[in-house]
Symmetry: C2
Subunit: 174 residues, 2 copies
């Protein structure tokens, strides 16, 4: 959990959700997979937000090819990998483009200037928000996978996920 | 390029292909994304082969859920990420399960025993082969993306990719 901000969502209160968020914060760069026609393509995207409310936000250009892909098919996969620590996270969700100046200002971090030299003045600047529908993580080569379901629902409704939706499963990893 | 084995494929002869393969060999663990119904899901998979012939091989159980997914829809995305070096690779391809004892023996590496304790005696052991159709890589945050197309075709036909298929593109990364 990022220290300076309180968690917004009750979903953050489960140990699995806290662990998931800590792993994402420790990696920062997601490979975002979208459907380019039938083909699955991914590209690195920086996730710089301080807290998790059921969505993950990424800066993009409105004119980027991946925006077209997400507008055609909003299913998005995010994978966070840190091989030196054997930390791996899979997130499944739905992406949409947000042109929301207030949120863009809130989410902006100066390191993004590497990709967006004009910063907040860039009229092509937008956010790609991924509504998290499911997540899984692995934190060592021999660990069980941990499934997290009901994430976005919990964040949006203010209800914690149903206990049956927060499961640990073995042996679906190799 | 892995040292002890000669490259099999003329596609390996381009500097971009050699760079791609060196990056994959430096990361080893792919997040493999498949379609679980409409949802994009990924999981870590170890790529331990010494050379590249247009396919990437991963050990799996025949009974694994991802095998069902690939049999329903063979489109597979592989992302290799190494955040400490800012190395990122996206591979798009088609997956299929191979029950080929000779190839299984050839590809087997002892570290796989972590996931397959019975090793080569495990009747559930199989290979998931991904025929590479396209690949892209990024090797620093400010680098252009490098597209590699025509990879599998070149590997299979013995013809190098058409020059027009081996392109470098800028500004589709943020």
């Amino acid at each position: 959990m990022a220290a300076p901000h309180p968690a917004r969502s009750p979903a953050d209160d489960t140990p699995e959700a806290a662990k998931l968020w800590a792993m994402i914060r420790g990696i920062d760069v997601a490979m975002m997979t979208t459907l380019d026609g039938d083909q699955l393509r991914s590209r690195p995207m920086w996730c710089l937000q301080d807290r998790f409310d059921g969505r993950l936000y990424f800066f993009t250009r409105r004119s980027a090819h991946k925006v077209e892909e997400v507008e055609r098919d909003s299913h998005v996969g995010l994978s966070f990998a840190r091989p030196d620590k054997q930390d791996y996270v899979s997130v499944s969700g739905r992406g949409r483009v947000l042109i929301d100046p207030q949120l863009i200002r809130e989410m902006w971090r100066e390191p993004m200037r590497t990709w967006f030299p004009k910063g907040l003045d860039d009229p092509d600047l937008a956010l790609l928000a991924v509504e998290v529908e499911a997540a899984e993580y692995w934190d060592s080569p021999s660990s069980a996978m941990v499934h997290l379901y009901g994430y976005a629902k919990a964040a949006l409704t203010g209800q914690p996920p149903h206990p049956g939706e927060n499961r640990k499963l073995d042996f679906d990893r190799a």
